[in-house]
């Protein structure tokens, strides 16, 4: 009970101090809009907005969460306010859960900006929302944890930014959203399957445009395993690197 007061207040403080600040809100809106426009403009034939939706949603989440958490954590470590959290009588797992939850919620909000736009442009009926929501949630969780992993590995804020792009750009092209994994050069295919985003994208494709191919349950299991694994590794890293 007492721990949850701490958990809730850390989450709320992060939302207020970082995620719901005007620059970040506008980032969350501009970014998905830019992606949508880019795809609409570049294709010679009329594209189905619905076909684009899985990709734009995933990218919005990916970009919203990875750098957000790594930047805010690196910032708090530099200003040493993070030490306060380590000094509180709060289990490290719960503390890291609170820190990641803020970024996850922010990622989820980002994901629904493109859905709102799409709702005006096209008919969204027939989408299997339950797996889609589950996939978005798990994409948010795994990309946030990737952000945590980055934060534990860097010292400076600009490093956090650079390092997140190092992960994100290959992911965009290799996750199967824009180029199907099967049509990638054979030596790149194993790399695709190392990214959690590949599995999340597959669920989204199944539930929005019915062209996934791994099967929803398998994808969920793999995503869950990624989430648990990344969280455990990150907390372990926090323990070893930040409690020096």
């Amino acid at each position: 009970m007492r721990s949850w007061i701490a958990f809730w207040n850390i989450l709320m403080k992060d939302m207020r101090n970082y995620y719901l600040k005007p620059p970040n809100i506008s980032w969350g809106i501009i970014f998905p809009v830019a992606w949508t426009l880019m795809f609409l403009l570049k294709s010679p034939t009329a594209v189905d907005v619905r076909e684009l939706l899985p990709g734009v949603m995933s990218l919005s989440v990916l970009f919203g969460t990875t750098s957000m958490l790594s930047v805010t954590l690196t910032f708090e470590r530099r200003s040493r306010s993070f030490e306060r959290l380590l000094l509180a009588p709060l289990d490290l797992n719960l503390l890291m859960l609170a820190k990641t939850s803020g970024a996850i919620v922010f990622g989820l909000i980002n994901a629904f900006v493109p859905v709102l736009f799409a709702a005006f442009l096209t008919d969204l009926s027939g989408i299997d929302w339950l797996p889609a929501l589950g996939a978005i949630f798990l994409i948010a969780v795994t990309s946030t944890l990737l952000g945590l992993f980055i934060a534990v590995s860097v010292k400076e804020i600009f490093e956090a930014q650079t390092f997140s792009n190092f992960f994100r750009f290959p992911m965009i092209f290799l996750c199967g959203l824009f180029i199907p994994v099967e049509s990638l050069p054979i030596f790149l295919q194993p790399i695709s399957y190392m990214f959690p985003l590949t599995y999340g994208a597959d669920i989204l494709k199944s539930s929005i445009s019915q062209n996934g191919h791994l099967g929803v349950p398998i994808n969920f299991l793999i995503l869950l395993a990624f989430a648990v694994g990344l969280f455990a590794v990150s907390v372990r890293n926090v323990k070893h690197k930040w409690i020096y």
Partner: protein, 322 residues
């Protein structure tokens, strides 16, 4: 009972032993001072005790809990004031205090009430509405102390609480520390200001290069260094000219004039004041003050650690400029 028990605690960073087999205990209700120059290992020790660092070897217990394995059980009873204020710049005083209380599981109503009380007590009621980033150094330090005691800790750690802030705030902070201690809070403070340790602490440990070179009750340490008894007499008008006559009458006492109306007397044996007073009465000189001169903690420190005073002073000034 001992609030803190430290046994052979060691922390190595590569080849450097930042804390090297240190052992000490802090008794319930006392103000314990950790005194040493920059880089001595003071902050490292606090980090090891509070859960920000892990010892290489040795152990420490706070309120009976092991600092390495049961730190989360010990943390509710400790308050920590770090050497640099680390509250949230973008949040105001009230929000900062309330957030810190929430970290200790205190409910909304209670923490807002306590935050308001502390802001008033610390003279920050007005500043409570300003963002922390806009505070002066002294105000920042005060709010950081308020944040550290909002959950009523039994033991308060302060890392150089008055370093780098203005004289008035420093005085206020020392007074706050005394008040907290009178109300029953055990205090562990580090400082490189010898005068601060002298003014505040019941017991001190001298730490140099990661090693505790001496621990003791302040007055005991001072007595130990004192090899002779020194008394300074002050006269209403003149009196210093009696120096040669005094020497003649009291051959075992070393007499030194100190200005025109004071005289300093030194002796290896306890000084008997009665014949001295009779001597001055016969000469018709009024003695209105007899002061027993004690060595300063500074002298004790130099004697025990062998560190030149100049070095301490330089570091102090260097740090003050930053």
């Amino acid at each position: 009972m001992d609030s803190v028990e430290v046994n052979q605690l060691t922390k190595r960073y590569g080849d450097l032993a930042a804390a090297d087999h240190i052992s000490f205990s802090v008794r319930d209700g006392e103000i314990f001072g950790f005194l040493g120059p920059n880089g001595a290992g003071k902050t490292t020790t606090i980090n090891l005790l509070t859960g920000l660092a892990r010892p290489t070897s040795g152990s420490a217990r706070i309120a009976g809990f092991d600092c390495a394995t049961e730190i989360k059980k010990a943390q509710p009873v400790m308050g920590i004031v770090p050497d640099e204020s680390n509250l949230y710049e973008e949040m105001d005083g009230l929000e900062n205090l309330s957030f810190c209380a929430a970290l200790y599981g205190i409910g909304k109503e209670e923490r807002e009430k306590k935050a308001g009380e502390l802001l008033r007590q610390f003279g920050l009621a007005e500043a409570g509405k300003k963002p922390f980033g806009a505070y002066s150094k002294g105000m920042k330090r005060k709010l950081t102390i308020a944040a550290a005691i909002i959950h009523d800790p039994k033991i308060l750690f302060l890392d150089e609480p008055t370093t780098g802030i203005d004289v008035a705030s420093a005085r206020q902070i020392r007074e706050l520390i005394r008040t907290l201690n009178r109300k029953g809070t055990t205090i562990f403070l580090t400082t490189h200001y010898i005068e601060e340790a002298e003014r505040l602490c019941n017991r001190v440990a001298f730490i140099v290069g990661g090693t505790i070179v001496r621990i003791g009750q302040l007055d005991e340490l001072m007595r130990e260094v004192q090899q002779e008894n020194v008394v300074q007499l002050a006269f209403a008008n003149g009196g210093a000219e009696l120096e040669p006559a005094l020497r003649e009458s009291f051959p075992h006492v070393v007499v030194e004039a100190s200005g025109t109306d004071a005289i300093r007397l030194r002796s290896a044996l306890p000084l008997n004041l009665t014949p001295l007073m009779r001597f001055f009465e016969q000469k018709g000189v009024t003695v209105y003050e007899a002061r027993i001169m004690r060595p300063s903690l500074e002298e004790v420190f130099v004697k025990i650690t062998g560190i030149a005073l100049e070095k301490m002073k330089q570091e102090k000034e260097g740090k003050g400029k930053q």
